[in-house]
């Protein structure tokens, strides 16, 4: 990331969300991004996922300037190389667990999406929950399904936004263990947005955001 800035315009005028961020993350590295509410953590994640365009600066992803990609290319990049885990899980409520996991594979045109999804759920200890709808799963199970979906396409970049925010401590720990273990086995880069300094401490390094700036 070079001189990365994000300004949003509202009725109250221009707000500077992120100001000239510079950092590089290597393959297989895990980075914890912490900071108070409104410091720009989620915005940074949106930029890294290609869901938001920076106002200034550039993001290079495996040698590709993300600014050069159109909306569909960015979507394809997310589908094949980036996995995202949300605080609110964001599962499709009308689809079964395995269908949720299979979605990115199907969108990428994989012919064996169902088998791979079921296999992955089995790996995460959810084989007997594969045909359940999200409303029939506990919060922890829902987040594990969401994690399975995020890693289904073997992404090189894993993004997580407060993945334990809606879970109790026991489930939270279990989910984080799972995320770190998947990151390690897949040698994926992992960026974790969290308020929780203990969680962030499990990462290789920590980036502290304050009012849109990186604190040393």
């Amino acid at each position: 990331m070079e001189n990365l800035s994000l300004h949003l315009t509202s009725d109250a005028g221009e707000i500077n969300i992120l100001r000239k961020l510079n950092f590089t993350v290597g393959r297989g590295e895990s980075v914890g991004i912490t900071g108070p509410s409104g410091s720009g953590k989620t915005s940074l994640l949106l930029l890294l996922a290609g869901l938001e365009r920076p106002s200034e600066g550039r993001i290079e992803f495996s040698g590709t300037d993300m600014a050069s990609l159109g909306e569909d290319s960015l979507a394809e990049l997310r589908g094949r190389r980036i996995g995202i885990v949300f605080q609110s899980f964001h599962l499709v409520p009308s689809q079964r667990a395995w269908e949720n996991v299979a979605l990115p594979l199907e969108l990428a045109g994989a012919g064996d999406a169902e088998q791979r999804a079921r296999h992955l759920l089995g790996e995460l200890g959810l084989a007997d929950r594969a045909d359940h709808f999200p409303s029939q799963l506990s919060g922890g199970e829902q987040q594990r399904v969401a994690i399975a979906r995020a890693v289904a396409a073997d992404p090189v970049l894993l993004l997580a936004d407060e993945p334990t925010g809606n879970l109790d401590q026991r489930n939270g720990t279990r989910v984080m263990d799972l995320l770190f273990s998947l990151q390690e086995t897949r040698n994926a880069t992992f960026l974790l947005v969290t308020h929780d300094s203990t969680l962030a401490a499990r990462c290789d390094r920590i980036l502290q955001l304050e009012d849109g700036r990186l604190e040393a």
Binding site: T42, L45, L46, A49, L51, E52, E71, D72, A75, E76, L77, R78, G79, R80, I84, F86, H90, V92, S94, Q95, E99, L103, P104, E106, L107, A108, G109, R149, A153, D161
Partner: protein, 824 residues
């Protein structure tokens, strides 16, 4: 499997219920346009199939008052097989009973096309032949019924006795006239002279039908051979003129219903699709987040639209295909040319138009869906579709083109097509604008009650008023147009019409006739005028063929018109310009003209009109203009000439008399016994027949308007349901703040009654204006407000508003607070 297909399969599995309402609205729209296109095709096919039979040959030459010369008949024979017939109105007597009939005397060659069917079965020649010195006759079943006659009974027509040999079951050229004044009586042409009815001046039509083997431009050949003759020449393409004119207005009306219903279906789809995609915004954002490309999402929902089209088309077809077969008996009863069947073109038309409507209306919300920002998943609780852009509305262009094309192919005039386009373009903005103004006024002036004020200021209120207003306007417009089409013939007649028309009163009997009428107790308002038939051939020396027919008054130039002459101004039509001629005027021929006709053709006093009467041309100068009130069936003439050449021509008189209903039978008996050869039209009987037909017409109009309204109601319920989530949340908040369910019911009732009333009043204004423009400006027909259906529309508005309102909010009303909050 392609990802788009996979997504579609899951959409259908999980969310099919959400598309029921727009699907139903579409089915109704497709059903109506399909039905109307099929009826249109059946009528056209009927006219084409029966055209030759209706006309009685390939061509027909008609002359009034007298037969053409022997040399001219020989000319016709040289062109092809020829049949000559004579038609006139004549009284039929059986004992003391008398009845006006449509007499037709046919030669041996009749019919050249089609066949005559009789009951009991026999050939026409057998039925009409002389037996024991008495000629035969055949007649409609109605004549047998009215005269209490059976086959074998004798009747008297003029000076000749006939034996009724058989009932006329099928007369191939019958549909040429829809409104006959009496039942058909058919005799042999050779017996006409013996009746003594075809006297000089008696109104008889001499027609010569010709079947040619060679083809060619028959009209031109005849006109070249006999340029001076004022003949009416018709070919198959303009057979059944009356039928065509009758069907023209009704057709235009049907086209408006069909297109408007399809538009409503499109609107239902637009709202339904928008609502559906708004609900799916979360999934769409998620799909984008997980790598879904815009093309995949577009294909998924595009395929959904195509699937909706296929299902709606199939259902619409299933419903519409039987309709022409169900209506066939009705068409046969009223002699409307109609060939019920399954026609391909109407369905090609319906399929393409409905596809254009579905793609047009459905893709506009889809564009917004494709712009759904996936970043909302991390930022917002409520995921929304992307913002609309101007370019999103471009699919309206092919949609409008398809609607205009459909109207054109259904036979709408260019002006009607333009009107339909304006309707399609203007109706949504007009209603949204009006509804937004009402909302604005409420915001400014309506301070209390607070809850009602809040209800009016809601986001969805504008949409609800607009849709209800539009559907009701359609209902008001359609029922008003339908009502006016009926009243054009019937509404103002009974109160002011004379009781009887007397035709063919010989000039030498006129004085005796007057004495007989005025001597009868109760008879009043006797009016008698000479009656001739004449055809306008030139206006200001310009041949009528080169004159553009103005809307509404073009009929004046078509065919022969009844004309008269008079020394004094006939009552009932006051002068509006110029002066009446002196009673003893003997100068160059003058004419008094209807002021509306003068205005339509831009004629003024001093201008010249040329008319052909009895084969001679007369030039007349316009001396004055009169204001004629056509409704009421009073005796009126567009042209009244000064005495002079016309008074010397052979002619008979026509008279009208008013008699109290209780005395009508006695009066009829008294006059017909004294004047057996004077034809009588019993106006009330004719009106009864007409009103029977209009009753059937009224039902058809009501059913079609009702179905269109139902489509509107579905769209409305969709719009109300679209607000469901917000209303549930609102109901929860009201309940938390202490509002009881009963109070909420009262609030909703007040809100929807108020909205219904507003929409109803709005619809009255718009619907009445549209109906007036359609009926008066476009069709050139007279216009009168139908108060009963206008009132019905307001009541329907209130009822529909309440019904759709409560149907859409029932769940919000019953929403329990605790579970809702727990799930939040």
């Amino acid at each position: 499997m392609d990802a788009a297909l996979l997504l579609l399969r899951r959409e259908l599995r999980d969310h099919q219920g959400a598309m029921w309402v727009p699907l139903l609205a579409l089915v109704l729209g497709i059903f109506l346009i399909g039905t109307i296109a099929s009826l249109n095709a059946a009528t056209r096919a009927g006219l084409a199939l029966q055209g030759r039979a209706i006309l009685g040959g390939d061509f027909e030459v008609r002359q009034i008052y007298r037969p053409v010369s022997a040399e001219q008949i020989a000319f016709f024979h040289a062109l092809g097989r020829t049949s000559g017939i004579i038609e006139m109105r004549a009284m039929v007597h059986r004992g003391p009973a008398a009845l006006l009939s449509e007499l037709k005397a046919v030669d041996e060659a009749y019919p050249l096309a089609g066949t005559v069917t009789l009951s009991p079965s026999m050939t026409l020649a057998e039925a009409l032949a002389r037996r024991d010195g008495v000629p035969g006759a055949v007649a409609d079943a109605l004549l047998f019924e009215r005269l209490h006659a059976r086959p074998g009974d004798e009747i008297q027509v003029g000076a000749q006795r006939f034996v009724l040999r058989a009932r006329l079951v099928d007369e191939p050229d019958r549909a040429a006239r829809i409104f006959a004044l009496g039942p058909r009586l058919m005799i042999g042409a050779s017996e006409m002279a013996a009746t003594g009815l075809a006297q000089p001046g008696a109104l008889a039509y001499y027609s010569y039908r010709i079947v040619t083997a060679s083809g060619g431009d028959f009209r031109a050949m005849v006109q070249r051979a006999y340029p001076g003759e004022a003949w009416r020449i018709r070919d198959v393409s303009d057979a059944s003129e009356g039928t065509r004119r009758f069907l023209r207005d009704f057709d235009a009306f049907l086209v408006v219903i069909g297109i408007a219903s399809l538009m409503l279906g499109g609107m239902g789809l637009f709202i339904g699709m928008l609502r559906y995609l708004e609900k799916r915004a979360y999934t769409i954002a998620l799909l984008r987040c997980l790598g879904g490309r815009q093309g995949q999402i577009a294909r998924c929902y595009g395929l959904l639209l195509v699937l909706l089209w296929v299902v709606a088309l199939a259902c619409g077809m299933l419903l519409a295909i039987p309709v022409p077969f169900l209506l066939a008996p009705w068409a046969e009863q009223y002699h409307v040319p109609f060939a019920a069947g399954f026609y391909g073109f109407p369905w090609v038309l319906t399929a393409t138009t409905s596809l254009a409507v579905i793609l047009g209306a459905g893709t506009i919300p889809l564009f917004r869906a494709l712009r759904t920002e996936p970043a909302q998943l991390l930022r917002s609780r409520h995921i929304q579709l992307g913002h609309a852009r101007f370019g999103d509305y471009l699919p309206f262009v092919p949609l409008l083109a398809a609607l205009a094309g459909a109207a054109h192919f259904l036979g709408a005039s260019p002006r009607l097509v333009l009107g339909i386009l304006l309707l399609a373009l203007g109706s949504a903005p007009l209603f949204l604008g009006l509804a937004a103004s009402i909302r604005g006024l409420a915001a400014r002036f309506l301070k209390k009650p607070v809850l009602l004020r809040q209800a009016l200021l809601r986001r969805g209120t504008t949409r609800i008023i607009a849709i209800l207003g539009l559907s009701l306007s359609l209902f008001v417009g359609l029922t008003q147009i339908g009502g006016n089409l009926r009243t054009i013939i019937a509404a103002s007649l009974p109160a002011r019409a004379p009781s009887f028309y007397f035709l063919d009163i010989p000039a030498d009997m006129a004085a005796r006739f007057d004495r007989a009428v005025t001597g009868f107790t109760g008879a009043s308002d006797l009016q008698r005028l000479p009656m001739l038939r004449g055809r306008i051939t030139r206006l200001q020396d310009i041949p009528v063929e080169r004159i553009v027919r103005p809307a509404g008054e073009g009929w004046v130039l078509e065919g022969d018109r009844g004309i008269t002459w008079s020394r004094t101004l006939p009552p009932g039509a006051p002068l509006t310009a110029g002066r009446w001629w002196a009673p003893d005027y003997q100068g160059p021929m003058l004419v008094s003209l209807d002021q509306d006709v003068a205005k339509a053709f831009n004629l003024k006093i001093g201008d010249r009109i040329t008319v052909a009467v009895l084969g001679r041309s007369f030039d007349a100068e316009i001396a004055n203009l009169r204001q004629i009130q056509w409704s009421g069936l009073a005796m009126n003439f567009v042209m009244v000439f000064s005495p002079g050449p016309l008074s010397a021509a052979p002619q008979t008189d026509i008279a009208t008399v008013r008699v109290p209903p209780a005395r009508e039978a006695k009066f009829l008996e008294a006059i017909t016994s004294q004047f057996p050869n004077v034809s009588v039209v019993h106006v009330r009987e004719v009106l009864d027949q007409v009103s029977q037909m209009l009753g059937a017409l009224r039902n058809i109009i009501l059913i079609l308007s009702g179905v269109a309204f139902l489509a509107g109601l579905l769209v409305l319920s969709g719009a109300v349901a679209a607000e469901q989530a917000d209303r549930r949340y609102e109901a929860i908040l009201f309940k938390i703040m202490g509002a009881s369910e009963r109070r909420l019911v009262r609030l909703y009732a007040a809100e929807f009654l108020f909205l219904g009333l507003l929409a109803g009043l709005l619809a009255l204004g718009v619907g009445l204006t549209a109906a007036f423009l359609f009926t008066h400006t476009l069709l050139g027909e007279p216009w009168r407000i139908q108060w009963d259906s206008a009132f019905l529309a307001v009541i329907l508005g209130l009822a529909a508003s309440l019904l759709a309102g409560f149907a859409g909010r029932w769940r919000a009303l019953g929403q329990k607070v605790a579970p809702y909050l727990r799930n939040e």
